[in-house]
């Protein structure tokens, strides 16, 4: 399952296409939500859920399962699209995003949807949960791994660094954090609003292993995840260079698409682009 070859890369690529399509569809239906930061993470999520992690949708509470915490909780659409494709619930349910009474809350709610490991949304807290889960794993000498995805803007939250400090202090080599480094936050470029660079050096200074990758290159993502699995005594941070809104040309690298849902016509255009791109790359 964890080989990096044409087959596994093709599968992850296919899944990334489906995930992107479903992000657009659900946001067009809900009229509310976060496309930019969801699309930038689609390739990472495809690799995590369809190559890396030990997860069984039939046993969402299996004690030996790997755990994923979406620390950048506003990217809920990418998590929901991934969980649906993995088989946690039917894809049609995606269209209930953000509606009153829906298990698909605006930000992930672990009490409402199986497959969601943490109730996140308030930035900086998810990574802290992930540290706690990794600690539990060590205490119980369980083999599971814990993964968490953060935004680069999210790194502005001080508590992130409390968690990063603790993870290294407790030698949590069962923890992998991925930073979706798309360079944008709501008010504009991260560099201009509140510069967090150099990200990799910061994690390294906190005694983490650091791997820098192109967050849209599936082979690089898989290679990094594999390398992280082999690192002992310290957690790993994968700093993934990404493009906010990746896959939809009019959304790419635009801060305004952080929290604005596409209108029906825009969604149509977006879906056409995603399909065309997939065809061009020979992904069926």
């Amino acid at each position: 399952m964890r080989e990096i070859n044409d087959q596994t890369l093709q599968l992850a690529a296919q899944k990334a296409v489906i995930i992107r399509e479903n992000i657009i569809k659900m946001l067009a239906e809900s009229g509310s939500g976060h496309p930019g930061g969801s699309l930038s993470a689609a390739d990472i999520m495809a690799c995590l859920y369809f190559w890396e992690m030990n997860i069984d949708p039939g046993k969402p509470l299996a004690p030996e399962r790997d755990r994923f915490v979406l620390s950048k909780g506003h990217a809920a659409p990418v998590l929901y699209a991934t969980l649906a494709e993995k088989g946690f619930f039917p894809a049609e349910d995606l269209l209930s995003l953000r509606q009153l009474g829906s298990p698909l809350q605006g930000h992930p709610d672990m009490r409402k949807l199986a497959g969601v490991e943490a109730s996140t949304g308030s930035l900086g807290q998810g990574i802290s949960w992930a540290v706690g889960m990794a600690l539990a794993g060590k205490m119980d000498q369980a083999g599971y791994r814990v993964y968490t995805l953060l935004g680069d803007g999210e790194l502005e939250e001080g508590m992130v660094w409390e968690a990063v400090m603790a993870a290294a202090h407790y030698h949590l080599d069962n923890l992998t954090a991925i930073v979706d480094n798309n360079g944008l936050q709501i008010d504009g470029q991260v560099q201009k609003i509140m510069n967090v660079a150099p990200i990799g050096e910061k994690f390294a200074a906190f005694n983490w292993e650091v791997i820098a990758i192109d967050g849209h290159d599936l082979q690089q993502i898989m290679t990094a995840l594999e390398k992280a699995r082999g690192i002992k005594d310290r957690p790993t941070a994968i700093i993934a260079q990404t493009i906010k809104g990746k896959g939809v040309s009019f959304m790419e690298d635009r801060a305004e698409w952080h929290g604005k849902a596409p209108k029906k016509e825009e969604a149509q255009k977006a879906l056409e682009q995603i399909k065309a791109e997939a065809a061009a790359l020979g992904i069926n």
Binding site: D109, S119, S122, S128, V131, A136, M165
Partner: protein, 315 residues
């Protein structure tokens, strides 16, 4: 008069619980020798996590540990456990409905010399306002142990408010309590004193002084602020028509407010609130501070007289 600090009782009870239950994990934020979680740390080093001076991450880690199946107790001073980390308690514990008990010590003025920055006067109000939070303020050592045992059995987020100084034991060792049920320690129809924490024992003292004057008051240990014992409050409102609340906490939003919320809706009676009058604390010895801020036996007596005067004038 035998005394024990509620934080000491907490520390002991944690170790006892730790021996009986493997799923317990304890966290602290560099204050384990003060909060007394150090005892658990010594007994079960593999199940104790020091977060260092990082309370927000302490609460976040507590959430992760609870999500992974542990029963978690997280401690620091009240100011920092639920002040500094309020939003983490709210979003990571309460909103997610996780099995973490925040057991904070050094609440109120009796922190003493450290002064105002360290004296949480608003923590009960903060925790009470959060959905899903159970809030317990035990009056002495034995009831602290009872509360801890009960909270272990009651899955979900909770706040246990403890103090720094040794306080008189009201209950016998091995006593039990029921979360959500106030304890009527004395009965009398002239007025009711509903108190929590250190003010319970002071209320008992005041009641004896009042009895000498021919005034018979009920004294209730309302250890559970949330869910509060509404039926007891209503019964006392009906029989006495005058309630005095007493807490080592601001008069805004704590026990007094909780009681008034109940009576106002169901049985409007006079409710006089004794507590810290919307002020910060300052340095001093615990006893000096209690005197300075009016949290004394004499003040309870004075306020009770005032209450009865008002009750009479309403007739």
């Amino acid at each position: 008069m035998v005394k024990q600090a509620t934080r000491d009782a907490y520390g002991e009870a944690l170790v006892e619980l730790g021996h009986r239950h493997n799923d317990i994990v304890v966290l602290d934020a560099d204050l384990s020798s003060s909060t007394k979680t150090a005892g658990f740390a010594r007994a079960f080093p593999g199940r104790f996590i020091n977060a260092g001076i990082a309370e927000q991450n302490m609460i976040g880690m507590a959430a992760g540990l609870a999500a992974a199946g542990k029963t978690v107790f997280a401690s620091s001073f009240a100011m920092f456990a639920v002040g500094r980390a309020f939003e983490q308690v709210r979003n990571s514990l309460a909103y997610a409905h996780l099995n973490v008990k925040v057991c904070a010590t050094h609440a109120g003025l009796t922190v003493g010399e450290d002064g105002g920055s360290h004296q949480a006067v608003e923590d009960i109000a903060l925790m009470r306002s959060v959905p899903n939070m159970c809030v317990v303020v035990p009056a002495d050592g034995p009831s602290t142990k009872a509360a801890l045992n009960q909270l272990y059995k009651r899955p979900g987020p909770a706040y246990l408010r403890l103090g720094r100084p040794a306080v008189p034991k009201i209950y016998n060792d091995g006593t039990d309590i029921t979360i959500g049920q106030g304890i009527e320690l004395l009965s009398g129809d002239d007025a009711a004193i509903i108190a929590c924490g250190i003010m319970v024992e002071k209320s008992l003292q005041a009641a004896r002084l009042l009895a000498d004057e021919g005034i018979q008051v009920t004294v209730v240990d309302m250890h559970t602020i949330k869910p509060i014992d509404e039926e007891l409050i209503i019964r006392l409102a009906r029989t006495t028509g005058a309630i005095l609340t007493a807490e080592e906490h601001t008069v805004l939003g704590g026990l007094g407010s909780a009681v008034a919320e109940v009576t106002a809706a169901r049985c409007p009676v006079l409710v006089e609130r004794l507590g810290i009058n919307d002020q910060f604390g300052q340095s001093g010895t615990p006893d000096q501070l209690l005197e300075h801020y009016g949290l004394t036996v004499q003040e309870i007596v004075n306020k009770l007289h005032l209450l009865l005067k008002k009750k009479k004038s309403l007739k």
